[in-house]
């Protein structure tokens, strides 16, 4: 009986692993050469390989089963139930999305109305302010229109003719 005493030999556990990997075609070229060299020289190693192989082949006698006639039918049924659930979820999600869109649209409309009202009120008050500022001018418009030159008006102002109007205007 040969035992792995040589330094070149792998320990028993590794040797078994190498044999299995050899049988499965999972060894590199170099590893395969090492295993085959040992197989050529070592009867026990060969025997272990044969037993592993034989035990592996015996798995072929495991009973094989086939899908029952109803298998495809029941699976398809399960899938259609899943599909309709999926569709339902999508519809619920879409519905809640349209509600969300409606709510956002409503909020946007309210915000626009508030902003519009604020803007209109502000611009109206600005117009009123302008009218108030220009009130002395508006009140004397008829008189001013009778004068052709601005210089003449300037002269009248410097002589203090419009004092009361300016005070009233301010």
């Amino acid at each position: 009986m040969s035992t792995p005493q040589d330094n070149n030999m792998v320990p028993v556990e590794d040797a078994e692993q190498q044999l299995v990997a050899y049988l499965d075609g999972e060894l590199s070229e170099d590893e395969r050469i090492v295993v085959e060299a040992r197989l050529a020289d070592d009867y026990d190693y060969r025997l272990r390989l044969q037993r592993l192989e034989r035990a592996w082949d015996m798995l072929d006698s495991l009973p094989r089963v086939e899908a029952s006639d109803q298998f495809v039918h029941t699976t398809v049924e399960m899938i259609s139930v899943a599909a309709s659930q999926e569709l339902e979820t999508i519809q619920v999600r879409q519905k809640s999305r349209s509600w969300r869109i409606a709510a956002i649209t409503g909020a946007a409309a309210v915000a626009a109305a508030v902003l519009g009202f604020a803007w209109i009120s502000q611009s109206a008050s600005r117009q009123n302010e302008e009218l108030l500022t220009e009130l002395p001018l508006i009140e004397n418009m008829d008189r001013y229109q009778k004068v052709d030159e601005v210089e003449f008006l300037e002269r009248l102002r410097s002589e203090g003719l419009f004092v009361s109007e300016v005070d009233d205007g301010v």
Partner: protein, 214 residues
């Protein structure tokens, strides 16, 4: 782990089942049916040998297909289709085992499957041979039972790795992806599994009592 476009493209070109799954992603019912027909028996057998019960095997295979359907929209090929499918199958089987274990905990006796006899599979293998002369070449059905019991001596991971390697002819790398382990770990796992099988089936190996051919 994100899957690059080039990886996805490579698997799409190499694997016709990946192409079918991409059609399923685009809601093709015909492609789904085709995949189901291609894999139903393989999945049922895998589940049958993993869990040991035929009716449960069909239920679990259906669960796998349902998960495939549900995850179709997020499917991106990062491996062969079969590797992806068996990853799902592995998760489904693990979940089923966990719930079975919980149920067994609740049971007072936690008895073995339907009074199958001795709890130790090795004893049951001996019993399966019915005390017959060891030199007798047992028939295929008996051998099937002996091998089934030998499979029971393996732990869940070993059994899964053996089934994927033996019946799905998957490489260590693909089994590693499926089971979320390293290639080295799979190498070790399979070698232990095969050593265990060899021990369990030793009497039949000694006598050279090989299963009759098909």
């Amino acid at each position: 782990m994100s899957i690059t476009e080039s990886t996805a493209k490579r698997y799409e070109l190499q694997d016709p089942d990946v192409r079918l799954m991409l059609e399923v992603r685009d809601d093709s019912a015909a492609a789904f049916e085709e995949l189901m027909l291609r894999y139903q028996n393989r999945l049922i057998n895998l589940m049958h040998h993993l869990m040991g019960r035929r009716d449960q095997a069909e239920d679990l295979a259906q669960e796998v297909f349902l998960r495939v359907y549900r995850s179709r929209k997020s499917y991106k090929p990062g491996s062969k289709f079969s590797t992806w499918l068996y990853t799902i199958a592995n998760n489904v089987a693990s979940n089923a085992r966990r719930s079975m274990a919980r149920r067994k905990e609740i049971q007072v006796d936690g008895g073995d499957d339907a009074g199958m006899g001795p709890a130790n599979p090795l004893d049951r293998i001996a019993k399966a041979a019915s005390g017959q002369m060891p030199t007798r070449v047992i028939d295929r059905a008996e051998m099937g039972e002996v091998v089934r019991l030998a499979m029971e001596t393996l732990n869940d991971r070993q059994r899964m790795a053996v089934l994927l390697s033996k019946f799905e002819e998957m490489s260590y790398a693909d089994i590693a992806v499926t089971m979320g382990m390293s290639v080295e770990a799979i190498k070790s796992l399979l070698s232990r599994a095969r050593a265990n099988l060899k021990i369990a089936l030793e009497p039949y190996l000694e006598q050279g009592a090989r299963p009759p051919s098909e």
